[in-house]
Subunit: 409 residues, 2 copies
């Protein structure tokens, strides 16, 4: 990265106080993979008996660490525990046979330093694509990482995994079950190359809940569909997206089939997904696009993402212009069913277009007032059926061009 | 439009000398539809016996004039001739019942002023979406338009249909058949909201060839697929795209089944399509993306358009960065089949990546030298089959944001 970026105007006021999750400890270090003067590797060590579930990019050119995680994620829970090792600065993507060897070397070194079996070491790499990962800089630090593990280290971990992020991302929840407290804490990185499925996103969520791996995987897969797979910054999909959720069971509370836990986990996922959009490269507006009345839920999501990914809609939002004509255009091009003369569109609470034509009571001043805010809502009713979807995006600004026209310089 | 735009650096040196096409005359006028101080309406009057074929946007929210053209395009050739009436400044799209009435009023007035039946009057409107078209400003000028028709007026017509275009677009060809000359001349407008199928594009091509309507339509449909449907500026698709091709027959030369004529018509279409990309909003680079070795031709076009539409690829090109990792990303996300370890990528003649990894002989300096040019070529070999496709796009720059964040202001 050529220059330090100003913190996104959409960032939360501060990093949240994340609770300690029994059964997991963190450490970070500055290994100099690419960046200087900052940490760039994080280790999370999970106690024996921890269940790990995940979701990954669907890119056909997935990175070596993603392919390795996908092979391991369905493995048995091992009594020796598990580890997550992440570096920033280099994504080890499209690095040929050397990329596979780098993953193996890092996993081996992590196994050796932590005592966790190699088959239970999950690695992620994020940063530039297509350059060899100098993995020896990471393996050289593993003993130091294993020697400095700290149950309170999650906020430092959130910083070590950042790339073009302008703020670290964290979220937490607590659920009370039978008088006992179950805790969830998660961190994420991601700010560009964000689009389903999934995004240039690394997300690690930890809980002390007790739950079988398959049950946890079901919650993660379902939650992913309505959170991380419903955000887009630039329609580009990373080769490295990874979501891992680890349940240590240390609370002793079995959450299987417990709606409160499922809801809390979903809430943490949604919070982190929103923070990724709020750190969208160059973003100055956070935009919720909700579609109702589509023929199917799938059609609704197609329409919503078409609006959310349209450069013309996103530049209009940057210009604080309630340009509903561009919303019509984006619905029209999506490929999903629509009828021009049934469309209704709201910006915030302002009904702009009603059944295919500008609303009789429409006040451009009211719509313009909504557009000046930081948190915008665009609602489109297709008028054909019961399908609904909500997605989140940001505007497209000069900042996006600044960041991406010289990322490698 | 808030301000005059500088002419695209990719514009041709000058507007070409377009030949007079026997059987068609043009006139233009300043009707003040939206713009001041420039012409904004053009009329093309076609002699009796002219065959008209066309292609139109596939948007589900097509504008009223497009729907009207689609109804009329299959009609019989009328001995009374045909007319094309186009305004810029307002697209008459998403204007409800009023939009339909506006088209009817303009077509009626054109019929009355020219003597052409209303069913043979084709109209197009381009500009802002969703605002009522002040059609009375146009109908008031029709007698003046009909009274100033000129066989040499095509270059003025090219200017009258411009919106955010920074230069008028024209192309021509001549074919010699049996010692006689058949002439083709076309004009186009379009610079943003450009993506298959088709683009914010209006294209009118005229020829004195003699050819039946159905044969002409077959040539137009086939040519459209490899020209206007292979360009993209911003992945956004207009509700107003219209291509009309009129063959007056005035040369007396029957071109049915003549490959030379088909090739010449295709050449004019491709030239105009390229000019639209060269006027892409904010464009500083013209980029050809060719894909070979895909499983099918359809897969090849999917990959090529995914690369051409990727904001990360387009900003890298703006930054003159041979960032082949982003090309890999775009191939990976396209949804078409690919294998990371079979991909090869060239920037210009420089082999950057070979079978999934950086080429042994790769020189970043050579690739960087290519990126500094105005006309760039990115070639991707998928390594799986025989499918090929070529598409054309431009870079994504600050200029695009400037133009689109305040288009309505």
């Amino acid at each position: 990265m050529g220059k330090a970026l100003a913190v996104s105007p959409l960032a939360p006021a501060s990093f949240p106080d994340l609770p300690v999750i029994d059964g997991v400890r963190f450490s970070t270090i500055a290994a100099g993979v690419r960046y200087q003067g900052r940490t760039d590797v994080m280790l999370a060590l999970l106690d024996p008996g921890t269940a790990v579930a995940g979701a990954f990019t669907r890119s056909a050119t997935r990175s070596a660490p993603v392919l390795d995680c996908q092979e391991k994620i369905n493995g048995d829970v091992d009594s020796a525990g598990a580890a997550i090792l992440v570096n920033s600065g280099n994504s080890n993507a499209f690095t040929g046979k050397g990329g596979v060897e780098a993953v193996r070397a890092i996993a081996d070194a992590t196994a050796q330093a932590t005592g966790v079996p190699q088959a239970r070491v999950f690695t992620s790499s994020t940063g530039v694509i297509g350059e060899p990962l100098p993995f020896d800089r990471i393996t050289a630090k593993l003993d130091a990482l294993a020697g400095t593990l700290d149950a309170g280290g999650i906020s430092e971990a959130a910083k070590a995994i950042m790339t073009t992020d302008t703020f670290p991302k964290g979220a937490a929840a607590e659920v009370s079950i039978d008088g006992k407290t179950v805790r969830i804490a998660g961190i994420a990185k991601g700010s560009g190359m964000i689009a389903p499925d999934m995004a240039t996103m690394l997300v690690y969520i930890f809980t002390d809940a007790k739950i079988a791996r398959n049950d946890l995987q079901a919650l993660v897969s379902a939650g992913n569909d309505s959170t991380f797979n419903c955000i887009t910054v630039d329609s580009d999909t990373s080769t490295s997206d990874t979501l891992l959720v680890a349940a240590t069971g240390a609370s002793g509370v079995d959450v299987t089939g417990h709606d409160g836990f499922a809801g809390a986990l979903h809430g943490v996922m949604l919070d982190l997904a929103h923070q990724v959009v709020r750190d969208g490269e160059g973003a100055t507006k956070f935009v919720e696009i909700s579609v109702t009345g589509a023929r199917t839920a799938r059609d609704a999501k197609t329409h919503a993402l078409s609006v959310a990914n349209s450069p013309l809609v996103k530049t209009a939002i940057a210009g604080e212009d309630a340009n509903w004509g561009r919303v019509v255009m984006a619905v029209g091009k999506s490929g999903a069913e629509a009828d021009r003369d049934l469309l209704s569109i709201r910006f915030g609470d302002v009904l702009v277009a009603d059944k295919g034509w500008v609303s009789p009571g429409y006040s451009e001043a009211d719509a313009a007032a909504h557009m000046k805010g930081e948190n915008l809502r665009i609602a489109v009713d297709i008028g054909l059926g019961d399908g609904t979807a909500t997605v989140w995006t940001c505007d497209l600004t000069h900042g996006y061009i600044d960041i991406n026209a010289d990322y490698r310089s």
